[in-house]
């Protein structure tokens, strides 16, 4: 029954990965930009949450009310200044600029907070768990994370499908120039998409900070896990990203059960297998813009 428990824990972990990956998926979907600073920004949010909890005594969930809007604003500004410019330059520019950004963020955090491990304290919630079967217990906080992950993906999907701006984003992603002919200013639209993406990263970062210990270099693995979730699930599909996160989570936890301390490696291997045999992912978007 160890295995059933591992699978359940893996699925729950997957919710966090999907939450982390949502913004990455959105930015690529709307503007074909892979944000290499995505992981670093998640860690910024974790630090922000930690500082707020420590300095103001706010309960961790309340810090979201500050962290998410702040991160969204950061995203907006980033897109309007650096990233829109980079998108107008040569095709390597966005990759180089976001990588540079990741280095800047990571080292700023290192200078400000040192390399010590940190975490966000949720008090008693950290240990609380629900017993599902005699062998399987699910932590309350991880469960909340999972539910939030699913809700975020669903919400994003709904937003893109049903709202005017969501539709405008899909149109701009298909054909930016034709969208301009409809009166759509892609610069603001991109900024809105990035604001949403980074706001979501802010949300994810706080959950991450509660769940695990983090330090400035954590941005790297965060980016990698988010990326793996997106690719396993299939580019262009938000539900795919959810499934990708779940599969990655299960691979890691079950992998660690089978080969102790090799969970992450197993996750990578599953990712590489998907890349080898189903390179478009498990639920790829049908239409290419």
């Amino acid at each position: 029954m160890q295995w059933a428990n591992a699978v359940v824990q893996g699925v729950i972990l997957g919710g966090l990965y999907a939450l982390l990956a949502a913004g990455l998926s959105l930015m690529f979907g709307v503007m074909r930009l892979v944000n290499l600073a995505h992981g670093a920004l998640a860690i910024v949010a974790a630090y922000l949450g930690m500082v707020l909890v420590n300095k103001t005594g706010l309960p961790p969930f309340a810090t979201l009310l500050i962290v998410v809007p702040v991160m969204a604003l950061v995203g907006w500004v980033l897109q309007r200044t650096l990233l829109n410019t980079a998108l107008n330059r040569q095709s390597l520019a966005p990759i180089l600029v976001t990588f540079g950004l990741a280095v800047i963020i990571q080292n700023l955090l290192l200078e400000i907070f040192t390399a010590d491990n940190q975490s966000i304290d949720v008090g008693s919630l950290a240990g609380a768990s629900i017993q599902i079967t005699p062998d399987i217990a699910v932590g309350v906080f991880p469960l909340i994370t999972f539910i939030v992950g699913v809700l975020v993906i669903a919400g994003l999907q709904l937003y893109l499908a049903k709202t005017t701006t969501g539709r405008a984003m899909r149109a701009t992603s298909d054909d930016r120039e034709a969208a301009a002919l409809m009166g759509i200013d892609h610069r603001n639209l991109y900024a809105l998409a990035t604001a949403i993406a980074i706001g979501l990263v802010g949300l994810a970062g706080v959950f991450l900070g509660v769940r695990t210990q983090f330090n400035p270099t954590f941005g790297d693995v965060t980016l990698i896990f988010a990326f793996e979730a997106v690719i396993i699930g299939g580019l262009g599909s938000l539900w795919g990203t959810l499934w990708g996160g779940i599969i990655l989570g299960v691979a890691q936890v079950v992998g660690a059960q089978a080969f102790p301390s090799s969970g992450v490696l197993l996750g990578h291997i599953v990712f590489l297998l998907v890349l080898a045999f189903r390179p478009t992912g498990l639920f790829p978007k049908v239409v290419n813009g």
Binding site: T164, L181, M182, G289
Partner: protein
């Protein structure tokens, strides 16, 4: 005052000049057809009006105001709508969603989903079809309808007949009277001279980026048009 006035523009693609000293004017409510062979500069002309190209010299005035420096997305609220060459329907959106995007710029007027479905019954049946799965005729109807959703003062139609069967082209052009009836100014770019002559109040012919002929369809003979069109 003419609704749209183009005065002596030169337009370049990089180092290649596509339009040489072209002038044009349309009164509100008129339908002007710009005809010419492939490469004559017709689409470039429309793109310049919509803002996708910028003239190197000369002026484009809409409603009396110079719009040379206005970016394309700001020309739509002014009342300029382009149905682009190749239709450019958003492939991952349904035809109805394509129309809805056309309404992104909110201008009041006669055209909305239901009136457009009346005018293009072909669309009403297919509205849930994804852009990428729609036929050429459906895409063309959708592209025009999409442009009309912004209730423009001037509608620019770029090579509507391209790649479509004659029967389908007839169906598309059958909708034009309804558009003109609303008082919309129309600028039609066409290679199909017959069709252009049928629907327009005035005709302007381009050859190698220059205007070579202008006038009312009734006043222009076949021979004059042919020689202007082909440059012989």
């Amino acid at each position: 005052m003419a609704l749209l006035e183009i005065e002596n523009i030169d337009v370049f693609y990089g180092d290649v000049q596509a339009i040489f000293d072209v002038s044009l004017s349309i009164e509100e409510g008129q339908t002007l057809a710009v005809i010419g062979a492939n490469g004559a500069g017709k689409s470039t002309l429309l793109k310049s009006i919509a803002g996708l190209c910028t003239p190197a010299t000369g002026e484009i005035r809409f409603n009396g105001e110079r719009i040379n420096d206005v970016p394309p997305h700001r020309r739509v609220p002014l009342g300029i709508a382009l149905t682009p060459e190749g239709r450019r329907i958003f492939p991952s959106l349904t035809l109805e969603e394509n129309l809805l995007v056309g309404a992104h710029t909110k201008r009041s007027g006669y055209w909305n989903l239901s009136t457009l479905y009346e005018t293009f019954p072909l669309l009403a049946d297919r509205k849930s079809r994804l852009g990428t799965n729609a036929s050429g005729g459906e895409q063309q109807a959708a592209a025009i309808a999409r442009a009309l959703m912004s209730n423009p003062r001037i509608l620019l139609l770029d090579e509507v007949s391209l790649g479509l069967a004659p029967v389908v082209v007839e169906q598309i052009y059958a909708a034009l009277p309804a558009i003109v009836e609303q008082g919309t100014t129309v600028l039609v770019v066409e290679q199909d001279v017959n069709q252009a002559m049928k629907v327009s109040d005035r005709v302007q012919c381009l050859l190698d980026g220059r205007t070579v002929l202008e006038g009312k369809p009734s006043e222009l003979s076949r021979e004059r048009i042919a020689s202007a069109f082909f440059g012989i």
